[in-house]
């Protein structure tokens, strides 16, 4: 009988957070001969994912409370047994000492209940929740019951649950930031995926995670700090939720004497929500910038500026914080953008298509808006218009931009800001397409993100260059600062040594990439 090429082990009643499990799976994949590795709780959804990963799950009886470790090998028959056994052992070793626990003062007791946690930190004022979506709503309700504000990093929380949680919180004067909120800043402290920038006079309400990171970074580059950056989750400003938390946050920041300039960010809200936000901000009598990315709203009035891009929003807010003219700052910025044509000339025009590979959803959206104005329609898995949707997110057509942070890529996988390997592979794939002239990508830094994304992408870029030679120009933006754990200058150096043209913002990178292909 041939020996099996897979091994599945169930560890009963064991729970680990998803990031830990995926990091361990990633480590296992580094073992030569291990072709697929999966660590997941025995939920129905995970059975499906493992099935599609080629595992034979016959006889597996894990429940959602059990951990399943599954490994598959492509090694020759004689070596399989030992290899699979070794991989399982390795998995258990990693689990005994998970990567994220390093900073934990080893051996300290960690409370299992909210009551336990609150007896350790009785004046806690915020819960950061990143458990699986199907539990996250109930956990959030418990936290609100205890008077805690909530940051809900988890996604896959049903919209009805979101509304229920937010209404309960609003009644108590509490914030619910999320679901699917990756970034917040409170008094300069970064939570989730956020950058290490200094605090300052500007505060932000954002329905867009990487949008908040980009504006935070762009302000820091202009010497202006951010005191609070409150995320709401993208769905908050849609009709179903009605902007409950966006308005709650705007009101709190307007009432806060320490906030000198208010910024509200996101994709354009539902019209009635947009009206409410606009009215509230105008009545607040604070200098304000509304950055509705790609929005139709136009015209600055009553000290309220309306912007369509992220760097623009930051440039205007920075000017207001410095007591300068916001409109002039915007003019200067757009004049600056025109000079990118010269840079494109110097780099050398290319022919063919643009391929954008993004980890940040808002950055991908903004990139499409900008490139469309220069090159025409852009196809995407998250297109500006429905007709431009890519049939297969793994196969680009004509000018394309792919957001790797979408659910289709993150089900059972780490977010692309943590695991850059999928994009590194895709860079090489794109380079093999003779019709491609420019590859554009983002590198997002900060707490919670990959330790060294440039090095992770480097492999793909090197292979791409040797496949395509000089046919393709590589353009990137780095969303980060030197004080980030990854150090933005260091990341930039790695990319530039590989011949990547690095820009100061996503708006510039998208423009430069498009201009290289123009005409």
């Amino acid at each position: 009988m041939p020996s099996s090429n897979q091994r599945i082990q169930i560890i009963r009643r064991t729970y680990y957070d998803s990031v830990t499990l995926m990091l361990v799976a990633k480590e296992l994949l580094k073992t030569e001969g291990v072709s697929v590795a999966s660590l997941s709780m025995g939920t129905e959804a995970n059975y499906k994912i493992m099935g599609s990963g080629g595992f034979d799950l016959g006889g597996v009886d894990a429940t959602p409370n059990d951990l399943i470790i599954a490994v598959k090998t492509d090694a020759p028959e004689g070596e399989r047994e030992a290899l699979l056994e070794g991989a399982l052992e390795k998995a258990k070793e990693y689990l005994a000492n998970p990567p994220g626990r390093k900073a934990d003062s080893g051996g300290d007791y960690r409370p299992k209940s909210l009551d336990g946690a609150l007896s350790i930190l009785p004046d806690a004022n915020l819960a950061l929740i990143s458990v699986a979506g199907k539990y996250a709503g109930d956990v959030a309700m418990d936290c609100i019951g205890k008077g805690l504000n909530v940051m809900l990093y988890s996604d896959n929380v049903p919209v009805e649950k979101e509304v229920e949680i937010k209404k309960a919180a609003a009644e108590k004067g509490l914030l619910v930031m999320g679901p699917d909120c990756g970034t917040i800043i409170v008094r300069g402290v970064a939570l989730g995926m956020a950058n290490a920038c200094p605090p300052g006079p500007v505060s932000i309400v954002a329905a867009a995670g990487t949008g908040l990171q980009e504006v935070h970074v762009q302000l820091a580059r202009r010497g202006v700090g951010v005191l609070h950056g409150i995320g709401t989750g993208g769905r908050d400003v849609r009709r179903e939720v009605g902007g409950i938390m966006c308005l709650q946050a705007v009101n709190a920041l307007l009432a806060d004497d320490e906030v000198e300039v208010l910024t509200v960010l996101g994709k354009p809200p539902a019209p009635e929500v947009e009206q409410k936000i606009l009215q509230t901000v105008k009545a607040g009598k604070k200098p304000a910038v509304l950055g509705f990315i790609g929005g139709e709203a136009k015209g600055d009035s009553d000290g309220v500026f309306i912007c369509r891009e992220l760097e623009e929003t930051a440039a205007v807010a920075a000017a207001l914080a410095k007591g300068e003219d916001g409109a002039r700052a915007r003019e200067n910025l757009f004049r600056d953008y025109e000079s990118l044509r010269q840079r494109a000339e110097t780099i050398g025009r290319r022919k063919g298509f643009l391929r954008g590979l993004y980890s940040g959803g808002t950055l991908c959206y903004e990139g499409q808006l900008i490139a469309r104005d220069i090159l025409g329609p852009i196809r995407s898995n998250t297109p500006l218009e429905k007709e431009m949707k890519l049939e297969d997110s793994l196969r680009s057509e004509q000018h394309s931009m792919v957001d790797y942070g979408e659910d289709e890529f993150t089900q059972g996988r780490l977010h692309p800001m943590i695991d850059v390997s999928l994009r590194a592979e895709r860079i090489y794939e794109e380079a093999k397409d003779p019709e491609v002239g420019v590859i554009l990508f983002d590198v997002v830094l900060g707490y919670g993100c990959n330790d060294d994304p440039a090095a992770g992408l480097a492999e793909g870029i090197r292979k791409a260059r040797s496949a395509a030679g000089d046919r393709i120009a590589f353009v990137a933006s780095i969303c980060g600062v030197d004080t980030d754990p990854q150090n933005a200058s260091e990341q930039r150096r790695i990319l530039e040594e590989l011949g990547v043209h690095v820009c100061e913002s996503n708006a510039r990178a998208a423009r430069l990439a498009a201009m290289i292909l123009e005409g």
């Binding site: 003062s105 051996g107 960690r110 299992k112 209940s113 336990g116 007896s119 350790i120 930190l121």
Partner: protein
């Protein structure tokens, strides 16, 4: 026993002894043996802020300790003596935690072990506890629970939770019953 942290009332000698063959007779003269800690348990009281934390330790009975659940729910403590595998059955660990908590608070211990009901090591442990002597980690935890210091509480609770296969967690569950149980606490 691997470190001073693992010291119980009767194990204080172990650290200073050389290795012996099985069956060898040993006479120990305690003079000159370094005293590492005093196992006597002074009376004390839990700072009420830890109630939420200590209360959750009864949940340790949910997983690998579920064999102990029924007697605990019915409070038939004597049924726990000797219950569970190993050299210190988990039931005895639970009772040791329970007794430590009761004695600490100056309350009566609600069970009465009779010789021969459990392993010799467990019997020694229970006898020591009932005589008011407890092991090093436990004493440190009770001291922390009387204080306001979260670092001391999480540090000492962690060192017990990790102790042995299930011993430490069973002990914490027993302590929880003593400090937070509806009738005992």
């Amino acid at each position: 026993m691997t470190s001073a942290e693992d010291m119980g009332p009767r194990t204080f000698l172990v650290k200073t002894l050389p290795n012996f063959r099985g069956g060898e007779n040993v006479i120990v003269v305690p003079e000159g043996v370094q005293v590492i800690y005093d196992p006597a348990l002074p009376a004390g009281k839990m700072n009420p802020r830890w109630r939420g934390l200590v209360g959750e330790w009864r949940d340790f009975l949910a997983d690998e300790l579920e064999d102990l659940q029924e007697p605990v729910i019915r409070r038939t403590w004597d049924e726990l003596i000797g219950r569970g595998p190993g050299s210190t059955p988990a039931g005895d660990d639970f009772l040791s935690g329970l007794a430590s908590g009761m004695i600490w608070q100056g309350k009566a211990v609600p069970f009465h072990p009779v010789p021969g009901q459990t392993t010799w090591l467990s019997e020694e442990m229970l006898r020591d506890t009932l005589a008011g002597g407890i092991w090093f980690r436990a004493k440190r935890l009770l001291g922390a629970l009387a204080s306001e210091d979260p670092v001391a509480v999480t540090g000492s609770a962690g060192s017990i939770a990790d102790w042995g296969h299930t011993s430490g967690r069973a002990w914490l569950a027993g302590l929880s019953e003593a400090l937070c149980g509806e009738r005992t606490g």
